[in-house]
């Protein structure tokens, strides 16, 4: 057991020390904390000048007084001035914390740098040492030190610093290792700079952030432990003033004078709080320089805008989307990514939604399931699925629609399955989400779904966790999951992009076979025209949030009207021949089916 370990994510800073300081000064709360801390330190150092009384001088005629002009924080059980005792009591507190901090910092930084920068053997020795340090009962050892070193506070705080330093060693080691791998450090090494120079010039500045966080939080902990010792009348012995000792004295008269708990606990709280705020601020600054992304804001309704496009009239339509607009609320204002598109999907159709990344195709698909983040605003003139208006659907109906009406297959099969549950558990859960089925029936259905997606040994697959599956197997499981609610429309978002070429073909064959068996429509979202040519009967081409062309496959590849479609086809090597030779292309496209 380390004595006490500050709980901090080991953030790795990108900014330099100066940038960090500037960031700190931009935060009012952090500035206030720095000022409070400075005032407390200066006041305690200058205690003899700033106090009107002696810390030990008693006045038995004025005991346990509340604050007054004469005693701004009141008096204690022996009539001593509380304000005076707090300033004098701060001296051992701050000194003790400083001693612990120095030991903590020196050991943590030196060992961390060595471990992070040196070869395996040294690193491993230090790691074992740290593990040991962290599992030893440091705080009890500190008591033993007090017992043996004649109640010497300094010795106790040094022990505390030593036994707590394991956490800092780990953080510094991790940060050093990360920095070491960066290119400019490698470059410095190649150009012949010595290890020591690299360490000081290039690595050390990057470590300032994580170290400041750890040290400031530990300083707070050391202060609390120091006051705890004073509270137990160890380290600083009454009548000498200490913050913890004053809490202890207050506890003796808790029913007569509860006020005394306030200044004594308050000064500890304020000091430690200031340290904590500084640590938190530095961590926030680190996190900020790491990723400057805007936060997600709440959804705001978009005013419906008139749309030029009209929905295609189609008697056999499963899905009709008319004038769909999608916008995201960002800190930089609203940004519309889909500008009023209209398309339809027939029952049992294999349709492609094609475009390069950023064209709005995935966003369009996810909007149909209500799976966009909360800062997305979706409007349409009309969205009809299976004869029902979408906008009229309540939250519950939309929930029912997920899986039962429309299923989803996403891009990365390896992250699309919950790593903490077996395949069978996830399948059963999705199956049971669609109606009161018993566990046994759900299991039977799960196995039959795994058979449907042509997975060998379905019982064994059901018992496995996602990390025990190959990419192709995982994608088959994801497909099985999407089939669980017997959807009429399957949204397949780049279902083969993350897979090997041979596996890609298998998955597409499987999807086509499933369509033939179940008669559901499949909307394939992809950037890959080769896949479209191979798989789809019809395609909708999107660019910059608009539909530029929408045609049967033969016509699309045979006579692309829009120049963007032509550019896309030209950019797909396996298709170039087709566009050049009119005669060939109909033939190949139909072969591809």
């Amino acid at each position: 057991m380390s004595a006490v370990t500050p709980i901090v994510e080991p953030g790795i800073t990108n900014g330099t020390a100066n940038a960090g300081l500037r960031g700190l000064l931009r935060r009012p709360l952090a500035v206030a904390a720095l000022i409070v801390l400075a005032v407390i330190v200066v006041a305690c150092v200058l205690a003899p000048v700033l106090t009107p009384y002696q810390p030990l001088s008693q006045n038995l005629n004025a005991v346990m007084q509340l604050p007054s002009a004469k005693h701004i924080l009141g008096t204690d059980t022996l009539g001593r001035d509380v304000y005076t005792r707090i300033l004098f009591g701060g001296r051992p507190a701050l000194l003790g914390a400083l001693e612990a901090m120095v030991v903590f910092g020196v050991i943590g930084i030196i060992l961390g740098l060595i471990a992070g920068y040196s070869r395996d053997a040294v690193d491993r020795v230090i790691s074992v040492f740290v593990d040991l340090l962290m599992s030893l009962p440091g705080i009890v050892v500190m008591f033993a030190v007090l017992a043996l070193f004649n109640n010497n506070l300094g010795a106790a705080m040094v022990t505390l610093g030593l036994f707590s330093s394991g956490g800092l060693v780990r953080v510094v080691r991790a940060a050093t290792k990360a920095t070491r791998e960066e290119l400019y450090v490698a470059a410095a090494r190649v150009s012949g700079l010595g290890s020591m120079r690299i360490l000081l010039r290039h690595i050390a500045p990057k470590l300032v952030g994580p170290i400041v966080i750890q040290v400031s939080l530990f300083a707070g902990i050391a202060l609390v432990v120091q006051s705890g010792l004073g509270f137990l009348n160890l380290g600083v012995v009454a009548p000498a003033p200490s913050w913890g000792g004053m809490v202890g004295e207050a506890s003796q008269v808790i029913s007569q004078s509860p006020w005394l708990l306030v200044p004594s606990g308050g000064i500890i709280g304020i000091t430690v709080l200031a340290l904590g705020i500084i640590g938190d601020a530095v961590r926030d600054i680190n996190a900020e320089t790491k990723s400057r992304s805007g936060g997600i804001t709440r959804k705001r309704a978009l005013a419906p805008k008139a749309t030029a496009a009209t929905a295609p009239a189609d008697g056999d339509a499963l899905l009709v989307v008319d004038g769909l607009r999608i916008a995201f609320d960002t800190p930089r204002g609203e940004s519309e990514v889909v500008h009023g598109i209209s398309f339809s999907v027939r029952r049992g159709e294999l349709i492609g939604l094609v475009g390069e990344s950023g064209s709005g195709k995935t966003v369009t698909a996810l909007s149909l399931l209500g799976l966009l983040p909360p800062n997305a605003a979706i409007t349409s003139n009309r969205t009809v699925f299976d004869g029902r208006e979408f906008t009229s659907l309540s939250k519950e109906e939309l929930h029912q629609l997920r899986g039962a009406g429309i299923g989803l297959i996403s891009q990365e099969p390896m992250v699309a399955l919950d790593p903490s549950f077996t395949v069978g558990q996830q399948l059963r859960e999705v199956i049971r989400a669609h109606g009161g089925i018993s566990r046994a029936d759900a299991h039977r259905k799960a196995i039959s779904l795994l058979e449907d997606v042509r997975l060998p040994e379905p019982e064994s697959v059901a018992r496995r966790y996602p990390h025990e599956l190959s990419g192709g197997m995982a994608q088959r499981v994801v497909i099985a999951l999407s089939l669980a609610g017997e959807p009429k429309l399957l949204l397949a978002d780049e279902p083969t992009t993350a897979l090997d070429v041979t596996v890609q073909a298998e998955i597409l064959d499987l999807l086509r076979a499933l369509r033939d068996e179940r008669g559901m429509a499949i909307l394939l979202v992809t950037h890959d025209l080769g896949v479209v040519a191979d798989f789809c009967e019809r395609a909708v081409v999107m660019q910059h949030g608009r539909i530029v062309e929408s045609k049967d496959i033969d016509q699309l590849f045979g006579a692309p009207e829009h120049e963007y479609t032509r550019a896309l086809i030209a950019a797909t090597p396996s298709l170039i021949d087709l566009t050049d030779v009119e005669a060939q292309n109909v033939e190949v496209a139909s072969n591809a089916r």
């Binding site: 057991m1 040991l132 500890i268 989803l408 919950d418 989400a433």
Partner: protein, 313 residues
């Protein structure tokens, strides 16, 4: 799984050995010698020699340690220099008190922290900020001070619960509970906020993962996504923080037991420290090391439960 447990138990042996060696060596480190420190400058020559004999200080150092270690293996942790009570007996009689406190505090911190964290991941806003503030305040204000405030409110101002004392569980479960409620709350406050913070971060991160989207698209309810899938997937860091909270509560009990005059290991250490009762402190240090080793074992086993990759590796 079994091999992991065996491995962890084997790792515990060097830890306990080092702890014993360390607490033992402390005696040798002190300026002057331990016996003088114990009897004090005014102590008579006779009692000084007696203590030297009792501590085997007249033997060479390595022999002192092997004797100590040999006794240790026979369950003999020595006897208190003051009460003459066997150290092992003092520890076992006081262990239930301390365990009640730290297990209680850990359970409270885990349950309340996880619920608060998961809920605030879902609704965000004021609850998230409250947790941040609570985390800072919980860290800033010492738990013994919290304990005193709790006493002055719930025992003095509104006499609901006893201010001091301990009733063994076997004697009266109701009174036992009443006697540990306030100390458990005082010890749990810091942990609650830390657990809530890490749960909130883990759960909100998990809720944005693809697998949650897959299950949501499959029609799984928001409740199951949050409390089952997101929570289990953020389990490892949460359990780590709960474990740190346990160790923190163990350290905190050294101070908080004093407030409530609870006859646990903490008060044993305090008395032993003021009395320079070395064998008792050595014994308690070992007991703490054993407790920490045990909790680390529990944590490692729960990692295997939470993360299937550990289990099958």
């Amino acid at each position: 799984m079994l091999s992991m447990i065996v491995k962890r138990v084997l790792i515990a042996i060097p830890i306990l050995l080092v702890t014993s060696a360390l607490t033992f060596l402390l005696q040798a480190l002190i300026p002057g010698d331990a016996a003088r420190a114990i009897v004090g400058a005014q102590g008579s020559q006779e009692s000084y020699q007696q203590v030297r004999d009792q501590l085997h200080l007249n033997l060479p150092l390595w022999q002192q340690y092997t004797t100590y270690l040999g006794n240790l293996l026979h369950g003999n942790l020595g006897t208190s220099l003051f009460t003459g009570e066997p150290v092992l007996q003092s520890i076992t009689s006081r262990l239930p008190v301390t365990l009640s406190l730290i297990i209680g505090a850990t359970v409270v911190a885990a349950v309340v922290g996880i619920v608060l964290g998961a809920v605030s991941a879902k609704i965000g806003g004021w609850l998230a900020r409250l947790i941040d503030v609570l985390a800072l305040v919980g860290m800033a204000l010492p738990n013994f001070w919290f304990a005193l405030v709790l006493v002055s409110v719930f025992a003095v101002a509104i006499p609901l619960l006893p201010a001091t004392g301990y009733t063994p569980l076997s004697q009266d479960p109701g009174l036992w509970l009443a006697s540990i409620v306030l100390p458990v709350i005082a010890l749990a406050i810091g942990g609650i906020a830390q657990v809530a913070k890490i749960t909130r971060d883990g759960v909100s991160d998990a809720m944005e993962q693809d697998y949650v989207r897959t299950l949501r698209a499959g029609g799984v309810s928001e409740g199951a996504l949050l409390w089952k899938h997101a929570l289990k997937n953020s389990g490892v860091p949460v359990v780590t923080v709960v474990g740190l909270g346990f160790v923190g509560a163990l350290a905190g009990s050294l101070f908080v037991e004093n407030v409530f005059v609870l006859p646990g290991l903490g008060s044993l250490v305090n008395t032993a420290t003021t009395q320079h009762d070395v064998p008792v402190i050595q014994g308690v240090a070992l007991a703490y090391a054993v407790i920490v080793v045990a909790i680390n074992l529990v944590i490692d086993i729960s990692y295997a439960f939470l993360n299937p990759k550990v289990k099958t590796r």
